[in-house]
């Protein structure tokens, strides 16, 4: 059970919190949508991998597995590859640029101060642009927020990868903004 009384205890992770506080849900959803599905030279699959990786480092099962499932949906990978994110991407094919950006994201997860000039230069050497470096830092920072929000209020999360299949597809292809509210 969550630390606070949620109107619908059956809703897992951040979904239950969105339902509890619609006023904060709206900007949080829009931030996720802009970061992960907005215009960018990084693909949505790559950005979801950054989100899933940071969430794994923060030990947030709900965010990790749901964003990993979204990444798998984007990349047309089998759900079983989710666990490869925890093994430092041995099977999922990622570019050297994304690997350098994931390194920056892992530093941000610990502390912003851990990002060194060398980390940024390594990403640039693999072709990363200012925008891509900015975006990677902000995605990692945003998931340092989302993960703390979800776990800090003691929400529950389904255990098995399979339970996240549909959620991941919805996140990937319908996005994070509730269209019925936004009206498009």
């Amino acid at each position: 059970m969550a630390h606070i009384s949620l109107p619908d205890e059956s809703l897992p992770g951040i979904v239950g919190l969105f339902n509890f506080r619609p006023e904060t849900a709206e900007p949080l959803r829009l931030l996720a949508d802009t970061l992960l599905r907005g215009e960018s030279t990084l693909t949505s699959g790559e950005r979801e991998l950054i989100a899933a990786y940071v969430s794994h480092l923060n030990n947030c099962h709900f965010c990790h597995t749901s964003h990993a499932a979204a990444a798998m949906a984007h990349l047309e990978c089998d759900l079983s590859l989710i666990d490869d994110i925890k093994q430092d991407f041995k099977k999922i094919e990622i570019t050297p640029k994304l690997r350098a950006l994931l390194n920056i994201a892992a530093k941000v997860q610990k502390s912003g101060k851990d990002v060194r000039n060398e980390d940024v230069e390594a990403a640039r050497a693999e072709g990363a642009t200012d925008h891509e470096i900015h975006h990677s830092v902000l995605i990692a920072a945003a998931f340092s927020m989302f993960n703390r929000y979800v776990d800090g209020l003691g929400t529950w999360a389904p255990q098995e990868n399979e339970a996240y299949r549909e959620m991941g597809q919805r996140m990937a292809f319908q996005g994070y903004v509730r269209r019925d509210v936004v009206g498009s």
Partner: protein
């Protein structure tokens, strides 16, 4: 020097929010609601939460800016300074002390918030909404602090700068100024 080129007249978070306006917009809306929206916690109390988290994250820019805002809203400089040393001796309500302790746990990790921390807050009269907002403010500042330091933004050393910024946060809140920030350019040494 920042990791990417940012406007020189806008140090810390302010330049990042102008560099990427599309991501800034929901962050600003969220912050304005959490720190200035209707709440049973005062804006000053909510700035204390922002300050303690930024302090624990050792984010110089955010700590100085939110300390300045909290000082102005509370009307003294001692509260923030005492809080940074020891929450228990800070001149705030017992409820607020338990909420500040929850915020400090969130700074470490979401999982570091225990049932006991929550029970202590509830025993001192904290509502579910207050606990929710405390956790989310603390989490939000974990975003800000990482964003600001992860991009290696500039933190001015003059206290006067933060006094001005704190005043702007008190007067205007967190929404983008309607006419932008070009008027700040004149303060820059050429």
């Amino acid at each position: 020097m920042p990791h990417i080129p940012l406007p020189a007249h806008l140090p810390g978070i302010t330049g990042l929010l102008e560099y990427s306006k599309e991501t800034a917009q929901p962050i600003r809306v969220l912050t304005q609601f959490l720190l200035r929206g209707e709440s049973t916690l005062t804006p000053g109390e909510r700035e204390l939460i922002a300050t303690i988290v930024s302090h624990q994250n050792e984010c110089r820019f955010c700590t100085a800016a939110h300390t300045a805002a909290a000082d102005l809203l509370i009307g003294n400089t001692e509260t923030c300074e005492m809080m940074k040393q020891d929450v228990d001796t800070t001149p705030v309500s017992d409820k607020m002390k338990t909420l500040l302790k929850i915020a400090k746990q969130v700074q470490i990790s979401g999982k570091a918030v225990s049932k006991e921390h929550i029970a202590a807050a509830k025993a001192n009269g904290a509502t579910d909404l207050e606990i929710h907002d405390t956790v989310l403010i603390a989490a939000l500042f974990c975003l800000y602090n990482r964003y600001v330091d992860g991009m290696a933004t500039v933190a001015p050393s003059e206290p006067q700068f933060y006094h001005g910024l704190g005043q702007r946060l008190v007067d205007n809140g967190y929404n983008r100024l309607p006419n932008g920030y070009d008027h700040l350019k004149q303060n820059q040494p050429s």
